[in-house]
Each structure stands twice: as structure tokens, then as C-alpha cells.
């Protein structure tokens, strides 16, 4: 890929992200997923943990924000190719010179960026309604962790979108996949509460490392070395996800063109 192609791809991705944001900003399902549901979860958690003191408030703000990120990734980014199929634009997108991966990356970028609203809303809930004195302990490290978390979530989205397209039977499990990740990734409580056999599964999920980094930097519970390790794990998993997704996209397009089933579910 030469420089000019990279610039064109980058511009396409940004344009796709902008158009996706414009299209979805008032979508009621997305408003629920990135705003209302995380707020309700934050409200529940703040209420349930109110006896634990204010040090847990920031943990809940970050954790409920992560639930919004995952729900958005699962339901919105996961369907980023299917929505084109449902609206009859998938054939056109496959036919344009821009790679489909670039387009889906742009869509996921918009969705995941949009879901950071959930963290902001939870912050306001805890600060304004519950009157907690909130602060991020390591703001620079937190910002870097958030950036890497967004990248790793987007990369994860690139894997699940073609899987949902090629395997409708997997998509039937979409609803059942939401809470297990909340649990296994320790968004709102430590995974030490879970049975030991689940720990290796948590380690294989990049949202787990994102949660460790964000919780660690927001509450000051992690040293720089630990945070650097979490970053390394997020980068590693992002690269693995991008590698896998490239092959999945190729397989999906070959299958679709060979079988002429782009529009068929």
C-alpha cells in the first residue's frame, strides 16, 4: 500500500465515520444502547455500592461506560455489514474501489467513539446526582488507555461483523453475548469473584485488558509497568483481530461473489 492509497483510505474512513455519526445520532436504539442502558446500570451499581464509599464511584463510572462500549460494539458494529445488506447498499459498497474493511472500520470508529458518551453520562450521574467528588488519578495514562481501548474495541468489531454475516446462527446468540462479557471482563466487579476456570477466557478478551487499564489509571490502582502491560495486551489483541478480520473479510467476499448471495440471508 503506497502513501497515496493510504491517504485515500484514511479520508474514506473519516468520511464514513462522519456519515455514520450523522445517520445514527438520533437513532433511538443507539440512544438506548450508549446512553440509557449504561446510565441505568450505573444508577443500579451506584445505589448498590453506596455503602462502599466514594472510591468506588469512579470504578462504576468507567465500568458502566465500558458496558455501553461493548453493547454498542455487539449490536451496532456487529451489524455494520448486515445493515448495508438490509438497506440494499451492500452490493454497491462491494463494487466501489474502497476496501470494505476500510468502510466497516470507519463505521465502527463512529460507533465506538459515540459510545464514549456512556462514560461521560455516567460521570455526570455520579458527580451531579450522587454528588461524588470524582477525579481521574492518572489523566494522561487514562487518556492513552482510552485511545487504545477504542482501537481494540474497533478491531474486535471487525471480527464479529463478518462472522455475523456469514453465520446467521451465531447472530442468534447476539442477545446472549452481552452480559457474559460484562462479567468476564470485570467491568463492574473483579473477576476474582468468578470461578477459577473462567480466568483464561477473560485473558483472551481484549475488553478485559481495556477494563484493567482504564480502572487502573482512573483509580490509581495500577503502576506504570502494569498499565504498560495492559497496553501491550490491547495492542497485541488488536493486531490479532485485524489479522483474523482481513481473512474473514476475504472469505466473506469470495463466498458472496461466488455464490451471488450478498443480498440473501
Amino acid at each position: 500500500m503506497n502513501l497515496q492509497t493510504m491517504i485515500v483510505s484514511w479520508r474514506s474512513m473519516i468520511t464514513v465515520a462522519e456519515m455514520t455519526l450523522r445517520q445514527t445520532v438520533m437513532d433511538s436504539f443507539i440512544i438506548f444502547t450508549v446512553l440509557l442502558q449504561p446510565l441505568i446500570i450505573a444508577l443500579l451499581a451506584l445505589w448498590m455500592l453506596r455503602d462502599k464509599g466514594s472510591e468506588y464511584a469512579m470504578f462504576i463510572v468507567v465500568g458502566s461506560g465500558l458496558t455501553g462500549l461493548w453493547s454498542s460494539l455487539l449490536f451496532v458494529s456487529g451489524n455494520s455489514i448486515n445493515t448495508e445488506r438490509w438497506s440494499g447498499t451492500l452490493e454497491t459498497l462491494v463494487g466501489v474501489p474502497t476496501r470494505l474493511e476500510t468502510i466497516v472500520f470507519g463505521k465502527n470508529l463512529a460507533n465506538v467513539t459515540q459510545s464514549t458518551i456512556s462514560m461521560i453520562a455516567s460521570y455526570l450521574l455520579a458527580g451531579v446526582i450522587f454528588k461524588y467528588n470524582l477525579h481521574i488519578d492518572q489523566p494522561l495514562l487514562f487518556s492513552a488507555s482510552l485511545f487504545l481501548a477504542l482501537i481494540t474495541f474497533i478491531s474486535f468489531g471487525l471480527v464479529i461483523a463478518p462472522i455475523f454475516v456469514m453465520n446467521p446462527s451465531v447472530q442468534h446468540w447476539q442477545n446472549a453475548m452481552e452480559f457474559p462479557v460484562f462479567i468476564l471482563c470485570g467491568f463492574l466487579f473483579p473477576i476474582a469473584l468468578l470461578p477459577d476456570w473462567t480466568t483464561p477466557i477473560s485473558y483472551l478478551l481484549s475488553p478485559y485488558w481495556a477494563a484493567r487499564a482504564l480502572h487502573g489509571t482512573s483509580t490509581g490502582g495500577a503502576s506504570f509497568e502494569e498499565v504498560a502491560f495492559y497496553w501491550a495486551m490491547m495492542i497485541l489483541f488488536s493486531l490479532i483481530y485485524i489479522f483474523i478480520s482481513a481473512r474473514l473479510f476475504r472469505l466473506m467476499l469470495v463466498k458472496a461473489r461466488r455464490d451471488a448471495t450478498l443480498d440473501v440471508e
Binding site: 440509557l36 446500570i41 446472549a176 452480559f179
Partner: protein
């Protein structure tokens, strides 16, 4: 007599067909995912969160609360989609063109979901006993079954009202999702109602599930049917009120849609 037979057939056929259409029985994976594993995941999440919050070894408060909340999955989502599906699938004009008894059609859509909701709650309790340490050795099981039946009925009443709303709004899933998650707070599934502010407790009392959930906790702690009879009567009455208002709304929508020609307007 003939009219009764026709209505009974209409009730049975409507209930069965809407249920088959909704869950795609030819694809059991959908059912397995939404009725077996989703409840387990949701109950586990709130139970772990609750035990982490309280630092208590006793998770029964959260297991019972969230298992009973499963009634609302069928009660709200299932019933709403059964009613609203006619609009989205373009069959509403035909339905309104038939001489079929509207109340039979309306309640028939909910009936199978009451049975399905009960199965969902039972599955929730089984998960609770098997995986989360719920002790049901002191439970009056027939009384608990009655509690589950009445609670599922009352949440289906709320679902019927939401289903009627789905005939006049395109944002019904937004409303459904919000109501379902709001029940997690207001029903007392995860927070003891006594700790809520007075205005929230007032809302709780107006909602289905609240009293049923209370009754289930008392029964699992060793209470008898007589101890919860007032709660169950209250839960049943709440369900009837929601069915009544849901049906009125359904009829109102039919009259308005016919008058204005907006049957399929979204």
C-alpha cells in the same frame, strides 16, 4: 355456543401461530440463546454485582430478584412483538377487517407468553440453585408456582399495553428496553425497596412484578401461601388494570386508524 367455539379457536390459533412466528421454532438456537443462556448471564451479572456490593455470601436476594425479572422478558418483549408484529408485517389492515372478537385476539396473543414466561422464570431458578447457591429447600413450591403465574400474567398485562403503544409509535423497542431496564431498579429486583426515595417507592407500587417478587422472596425464605396472599391479590389486580388499559388503547388505535386511514403509517 357456536360463537364461543369460534372464539376459543381464534384464541388458540392466534396464540399458537403468533408464538411460532415470533420465535422461529425451526431455529431452536434463537430460543436457546434468548431463553436459556441470556437469563443465566443476566442473573449472574447482577448477582455478582450485588454480592460484590454488599460483601455478603448470601446471594439469594439477587438471584430471586433477577430470576423473577425474567418474567418480563416474555411479558414485555414477547407480548409486544406479538401485537406490534401485525403492523410491521402489513397484516394489521386484514386483522381489523375481520369480524374477530378483538378482546379474544388481544388476550390470545399474550396467553402463550405467560406460559413461556413461567418456563423462563423456572429456568432462572434452576440456574440459581445449580450455579449460584440458591437454597429452595424451605420453599412451598405450589405457592411459588402460583406466584410465578400471577407475576408473569401481570407483566404480560404491561406487555399488552406496550404492544398497543407499538401500534402508534415506531420507537416501541426503545420504550420496551427502557421499561425492562427500569423494572430492574423499580421492582426491587436488585435494590431493597425500603432504601429507595418515597417517590420511587410510589412508582414501584404502580408497576407489575414488585409484589410478585416480594412474595417469591417470602416463599423461598419459608413462608406459606397465606403469608403472601395479599401481595398476590395486589399483583393480580395490577395485571388486570394494565390489560384493561392496554385493550382500551388497542381499540382506540383501531378506531382512529380506520377514521384517519393511518393503519400502516409509521
Amino acid at each position: 355456543m357456536q360463537r364461543l367455539a369460534v372464539n376459543l379457536r381464534l384464541f388458540g390459533q392466534g396464540a399458537l401461530l403468533s408464538y411460532i412466528a415470533l420465535f422461529h421454532w425451526l431455529r431452536p438456537a434463537t430460543y436457546l440463546a434468548s431463553k436459556i443462556f441470556m437469563p443465566l448471564a443476566q442473573i449472574s451479572f447482577f448477582t455478582y454485582l450485588g454480592t460484590f456490593a454488599t460483601g455478603s455470601d448470601d446471594s439469594s436476594f439477587f438471584v430471586i430478584g433477577n430470576a423473577m425479572q425474567i418474567a418480563a422478558v416474555s411479558g414485555i418483549y414477547g407480548v409486544t412483538m406479538s401485537i406490534g408484529g401485525d403492523r410491521w408485517n402489513g397484516t394489521l389492515p386484514y386483522l381489523f377487517g375481520t369480524p374477530a372478537n378483538r378482546l379474544v385476539v388481544f388476550v390470545g396473543r399474550a396467553s402463550i407468553h405467560i406460559v413461556d414466561g413461567m418456563v423462563g422464570v423456572v429456568i432462572g431458578f434452576i440456574w440459581g440453585v445449580l450455579l449460584l447457591g440458591l437454597n429452595m429447600s424451605q420453599t412451598d413450591l405450589p405457592a411459588l408456582a402460583l406466584t410465578i403465574l400471577i407475576t408473569t400474567y401481570s407483566t404480560s398485562g404491561l406487555g399488552l399495553m406496550m404492544g398497543s403503544l407499538s401500534l402508534v409509535t415506531r420507537n416501541v423497542m426503545f420504550i420496551n428496553n427502557t421499561v425492562y431496564f427500569a423494572l430492574l431498579i423499580f421492582s426491587g429486583a436488585n435494590i431493597p425497596l425500603a432504601t429507595l426515595p418515597a417517590w420511587m417507592q410510589t412508582i414501584s407500587k404502580l408497576l407489575p412484578l414488585t409484589r410478585g417478587l416480594d412474595a417469591a422472596r417470602i416463599l423461598i425464605a419459608g413462608g406459606q401461601l397465606a403469608d403472601v396472599s395479599t401481595l398476590l391479590v395486589g399483583e393480580f389486580i395490577i395485571g388486570c388494570i394494565y390489560v384493561f388499559f392496554g385493550y382500551r388503547l388497542f381499540r382506540w388505535f383501531e378506531i382512529q386508524a380506520k377514521r384517519r386511514g393511518t393503519l400502516e403509517t409509521v
